[in-house]
């Protein structure tokens, strides 16, 4: 016979959980609530006159062609960044995994860019590609190509993508390398004995076994491209030329902190918040369950 054990009511568990709950409320729930409330208001910059407008800010946003364009642009931007940084990282990780001598040095060098602040990374790239002073521009013009990302939107986008991807390669590299090293050597050796070449081994054994890592990184990279690239865009192009690099997170800043349109900006950040929540749900649902291990 099973005996039901009842613990008497105790404050201890509540006390133990309290710090976490307090932190969440202060640093997440409260500001998020503020943003939500602000997104329903039209207010002047100084906060002297306020009008409650329900969802009007959201309606205006989707009426705005620039916002819709910014949405599409962000999707292009983030997929490019995720694809570039992940594929490069995978190649580098595979190479670093094969190296025996001096592998520690290679790995350390490859991880360096991750320690660079986004703003610094942006400044670095923008100097190299400056239309007047840049060293790369100089080389390109010697080859007959006139680079001017201050005028050409696609060039500006390419530049921002490059800088953003470059910074993220190191992070992806770390995870891919760890993933590669956790694949049992015996599996690969068995395949080699069966006559599978390096390409076939990679395609049929290594890459499928890396799929949980890849999926996790995909989500992380998209989140990164969506939210952490603000500094890079700010330094390199400030959203220009003609809005060609004005991605969602930058638009929140420029509408809110430059344009002082707090309601509109808050509405945009609420939408971004919904996107993050969506991405997190996807990650938990699929990374944890559906991806084959």
């Amino acid at each position: 016979m099973l005996k039901n054990v009842h613990f008497g009511p105790s404050v201890l568990p509540f006390l133990l959980v309290a710090p976490q709950i307090i932190v969440t409320i202060i640093f997440f729930i409260w500001p998020a609530g503020q943003a939500l409330y602000q997104s329903l208001l039209i207010q002047d910059a100084f906060g002297l006159s306020t009008e409650f407008v329900w969802l009007e800010n959201f309606v205006t946003l989707f009426d705005e062609e620039q916002y819709r364009n910014s949405f599409g642009r962000t999707i292009v931007f983030s997929s490019l960044v995720a694809f570039l940084s992940m594929s490069f990282a995978l190649i580098l990780a595979v190479l670093a995994d094969r190296v025996i001598k001096g592998s520690g040095t290679y790995r350390t060098l490859l991880i360096w860019p991750y320690a660079v602040a986004p703003v610094t990374a942006g400044a670095l790239w923008v100097f190299m590609f400056d239309p007047t002073l840049g060293i790369v521009t100089y080389g390109l013009s010697a080859m007959g190509y006139d680079w001017n990302h201050k005028l050409n939107g696609s060039e500006a986008m390419a530049l921002v993508v490059m800088a953003a991807a470059w910074k993220q390669v190191a992070y992806n590299f770390l995870f891919f390398l760890a993933g590669l090293q956790s694949i049992p050597k015996s599996l690969i050796e068995a395949a080699a004995i069966d006559g599978a070449g390096p390409v076939k081994r990679f395609r049929d054994i290594i890459f499928p076994l890396l799929s949980p890592t890849t999926f996790f990184l995909l989500v992380i990279n998209i989140v990164y491209a969506f939210f952490d690239t603000f500094g890079i865009v700010h330094v390199m192009t400030a959203g220009g030329p003609a809005g060609a690099t004005n991605i969602l997170v930058y638009k929140v800043f420029s509408d809110g902190f430059v344009g002082l349109d707090l309601g509109g900006s808050a509405a945009q950040s609420v939408i971004l918040m919904i996107i993050v929540i969506g991405l997190t749900v996807i990650q938990f649902k699929y990374v944890e369950k559906k991806v084959a291990y």
Partner: protein
């Protein structure tokens, strides 16, 4: 003993220092500004010099980033009830500040309340008319005002055989063609393009940028810069960019290096680049008035100012405002203003400061440095050339910049770009009108 020394000596020193501090406790006046680099040092010098003249008040200047950052910092501080006494706000923020009636202490009213003498007639009309209400009350204290001028490379002109500095746009085109033919990478470039090529272009040709006297009479304004003359100008610039007569190099001062490197023979931007150009250019340079279209206007009207003014924020004690008022008087004294003007290339804001610079022989030894002030006071300002005062203008300027970039890159025609800019601008004007409930 040694422990005793270690603890006791600093304690005594601290007590003495604290006591001394108490004895001369000066009322602090916070001044937030956006002047970085060398200009920041000049601002610090002005504050330090003022502090040395008296012991009652202590002005503390704080650098808060660029113009936009300084303004948003002050607004955020006001919302948190931690605002500074004085904040430097650029001219496009004027409408936002004006609309904030509960937050801003009009300078003229403050001077009167503090019992400080204040003679408005000494200020240059072109400078203060921008910052007055429709009843003529001065809202903020002019500090660093500038206007766009035409900078030229005299050596390049000689090499390319350009005989005289262009006065009109057709002459600009001819000169640029010669420069490009002589091997220069471009004829001309410019920065702060909305300010130079739309706002000042309109005033210079006596064209309205918007209704309601460019926003001076009310917030119910509609943009009018989408007129045929501005559109034609945009189309011309687009045409000229095809054969490098004009090359675009960025929104703010980014294209400065194109001029100082000797790539472009001419550059249109603020007179306040005087210090930078003087330091960087290894050729003989000069400044001259902006070009105009002779088929639009016989002779140009006057240009409008840029730069910033000092706004006083409400919510401080009355005796602190006395210090603010004294400092304002010090700041606009002829000596300080003449020094500031000659060091930076900003316009002297008062007639006495201008006269003093003349007397000191500054314009004789630095020919052309009075271009800006001459250009501003060329004619009595009309409703079209008094300035502009549109709400949300920081954002609208970015809209105009975006559309202009689309024109330069060939994505849009001059007409389509300006139509779109005016349309998007009007939306933001309506938003401002609504948010400010007037």
């Amino acid at each position: 003993m040694s422990i005793f020394k270690k603890l006791f000596v600093p304690a005594v020193l601290a007590a003495v220092a604290g006591g001394a501090g108490l004895a001369s406790a000066a009322t602090e006046v916070q001044w937030w500004h956006a002047m970085g680099g060398t200009n920041g040092e000049r601002v610090n010098k002005i504050a330090a010099d003022f502090n040395a003249t008296q012991s009652e008040y202590k002005v503390v200047p704080t650098f808060k980033g660029n113009y936009t950052e300084t303004m948003t910092a002050a607004i955020a501080a006001f919302r948190a009830k931690k605002q500074p006494h004085i904040v430097q706000v650029f001219e496009v923020g004027t409408a936002t500040m004006m609309a904030a009636k509960g937050a801003v202490y009009p300078v003229e009213e403050m001077m009167k309340d503090a019992g400080e003498p204040f003679d408005k007639s000494q200020y240059l009309p072109a400078v203060i008319s921008y910052y007055q209400t429709s009843d003529g009350e001065l809202l903020s204290m002019p500090f660093n005002s500038s206007t766009p001028v035409l900078w030229y490379n005299a050596d390049a002109f000689k090499k390319a055989g350009v005989a005289s500095v262009p006065k009109t746009w057709p002459e600009m085109k001819a000169a640029s063609e010669k420069l490009v033919a002589a091997g220069y990478k471009c004829g001309f470039s410019f920065g702060w393009q909305s300010w130079v090529m739309v706002e000042n272009f309109s005033a210079w040709h006596n064209l309205p940028m918007g209704t309601e006297e460019n926003g001076f009479k009310g917030t119910n304004t509609i943009f009018e810069f989408d007129n045929d003359i501005v559109k034609t100008h945009m189309t011309n610039l687009q045409d000229w960019s095809k054969n490098k007569l004009f090359v675009y190099g960025g929104r703010r001062g980014d294209s400065l290096s194109m001029f100082t490197n000797g790539e472009c023979g001419m550059w249109m931007n603020s007179s306040a680049y005087y210090g930078s150009i003087k330091k960087q250019a290894k050729f003989e340079f000069g400044q001259s008035m902006l070009p105009f279209y002779p088929n639009v206007i016989k002779s140009p009207q006057n240009s409008i100012i840029g730069g910033a003014t000092l706004w006083v924020l409400k919510g401080k004690k009355a005796d602190e405002y006395k210090g603010v008022a004294q400092f304002m008087n010090y700041l606009s004294s002829p000596e300080v203003q003449a020094w500031w003007h000659q060091e930076t290339g900003y316009v002297p804001i008062t007639t006495p400061a201008y006269e003093l610079s003349k007397k000191q022989g500054f314009y004789k030894s630095n020919p052309g440095t009075d271009t800006a002030i001459k250009q501003l006071s060329l004619n009595t300002p009309t409703p079209n050339s008094r300035g502009i005062r549109f709400g949300n203008f920081v954002q609208i300027r970015d809209v105009i910049n975006e559309e202009m970039e689309a024109i330069w890159s060939g994505d849009k025609t001059g007409a389509a770009g300006m139509d779109e800019a005016a349309k998007r601008g009007d939306v933001l004007l309506r938003k401002f009108e609504r948010a400010n409930g007037s």
